[in-house]
Amino acid sequence: MICDNCRKNEASIHLIQLDSNGEVRKFDLCKDCVKDLAFLSDEEMSGGDFKNSTSILAIDLGFFNDNESFDLFNSLNSADKESRRCQYCNISLSAIKKLGRVGCPRCYEEFKEELNPLIKLIQTGIEHKGKIPLNCNKRLKIEKKIKDLKFMLEEQIIIENFEEAAKLRDKITSLQKKLHYSGKKLKK
């Protein structure tokens, strides 16, 4: 009998659960999965009292189901042969839809057409306005700075503080020049 959880190892522990409605659920699990699901440490697992231990009852069935969904991923991913796949991590589009998770950073590029409308729906727009990594390239930093300044410029125009706005505009043009210049240098 194969373990219900990992679907790999031989099941050696068999649990029968009665819930309040009188429904019976059977689980066949291997030792490794019991350890995972019941949060047992190595010594608790190897200890002699394991057989009579109540700690095995600590298996959280919600947790079990979650783990099931994790292994569901493998079956999901291999199920739909037609669906498009990410070239890098091989996750299929239908698996992403069902899991609500993407597989790797490149998925966001691979499935741009499908994901961007969804992202727009749950977030405000698809433009990052927050901080950027310290070690990203200089160009990105300047571009980000320009974005921030343009945002500030709009704010100043709204409150009709044109003096400040003019200063910001000059800063933006000088940064844009810098960007243009560094772009040329890169091409050479």
Binding site: V102, P105, I122, H128
Partner: protein
């Protein structure tokens, strides 16, 4: 092996210093920052070798960061069951996650120099890295500063997945952009009794903030405790998310105070009754479940603030919540013995009496 011993001792000490006199609307603030390391698949797809690679990478980086000198690296699989449950109850790690514990790790401060904050770095949960900070009370800005300090150090050594348009990338599309989840736990009995809370939650949802149970999403609201956190992470910068949550917290406190004042002027017999009923329950109950305790303590705290009752000490609600969780009782009051649920409930009732009745203090 030594690491193991320090693990269990270390995690036992997860306690905050509290201030019972201060306002008791915002009980707790927390910040979670999610990051993924570039060059690796996300954890939903990653196999064992990928995850081991991430663990080793983080372990290596940890040793290079002096800020993390006082922090210990624990594999989750080495942490005993009870301590692990305590970490779950303290909302440091998730109980249900799609990842197996085999490859998960948590980096915790070993000394707890500062009892007013709890910082942890969790590796290989749903995302590669989660930097977390919790502080009691209304402290969201300080939490963010703390998290940022650690993120900066990590960012110098690690390269995080980043996209110019989408910001920091996460496997869960609802976290991309800033990867920042800020939340506060609010205790709002007056708003619930006056049913104003319904409109308040609706308004919060409209501005992109979600309200869930203190026990985590999908659970029932108990003890008039609400967890409020941002739903939107992309298209706003970090500062505005924090500022908005601070404004919301301020608004929450004001609204709760206003509702309280209104109730004070038109005190009904049924409110007084429920306060004294809870008093009687706490005083004479032999066993109290965690959920029931939260409900009773919430009403007692409300009675104290309203001046209905003065037979009890001005207790700190959040401190008590942390003391009376199952795992905390098992760890601190029942040593190395397997306790039945009734025993735990009995001890819980005793602890509560000890903490709130004047004759014990």
């Amino acid at each position: 092996m030594e690491e193991n011993i320090s693990t269990s001792q270390n995690i036992k000490k997860l306690k905050f210093k509290y201030n019972a006199e201060k306002q008791q609307v915002i009980l707790n603030s927390s910040i979670n920052l999610f990051r993924n390391i570039s060059g690796y698949k996300f954890n939903a797809v990653a196999d064992k070798t990928d995850k081991e690679g991430i663990l080793n990478l983080v372990l290596d980086v940890k040793s290079q960061i002096s800020l993390l000198d006082n922090f210990n690296f624990h594999y989750l699989r080495d942490i005993p069951r009870l301590q692990r449950q305590l970490l779950i109850d303290q909302k440091i790690i998730l109980s249900s996650t799609t990842q197996k514990i085999g490859s998960k790790a948590v980096i915790l401060n070993s000394k707890f120099v500062d009892k007013n904050k709890l910082t942890a770095i969790i590796v290989n949960e749903d995302e590669h890295i989660k930097i977390e900070c919790q502080m009691p009370g209304n402290n969201i800005l300080n939490c963010y500063k703390e998290v940022l300090k650690f993120e900066k150090k990590l960012e110098k050594k690690l390269s995080f997945s980043f996209n110019q348009n989408l910001g920091y990338l996460t496997s869960n599309p609802s976290l991309i952009g800033t990867g920042l989840k800020a939340s506060v736990v609010a205790h709002m009995p007056s708003m619930v009794i006056s049913t104003k809370i319904v409109d308040f939650i609706k308004n919060l949802n409209q501005v992109g903030y979600g309200v869930s149970s203190f026990l985590g999403e999908g659970n029932e609201i108990i003890g008039n405790l609400f967890q409020i956190s941002n739903l939107i992470t992309l298209g706003k910068n970090e500062e505005s998310i924090i500022e908005e949550l601070i404004a919301i917290s301020k608004n929450l406190i004001e609204e709760e105070e206003r509702a309280k004042e209104e109730l004070k002027t038109s005190l009904s017999l049924s409110i007084e009754d429920s306060v004294y009923r809870s008093y009687g329950m706490v005083k004479y109950a032999k066993i109290l479940s965690f959920e029931e305790s939260l409900e009773l303590l919430s009403i007692l705290r409300f009675g104290l603030d309203l001046g209905i009752i003065d037979e009890i000490v001005k207790f700190d609600f959040y401190e008590l919540i942390n003391i009376i969780s199952d795992s905390s009782i098992e760890l601190n009051y029942i040593k190395n013995k397997k306790a039945s649920l009734d025993e735990i409930d009995f001890i819980r009732a005793c602890i509560i009496r000890e903490k709130i009745f004047k004759e014990y203090n």
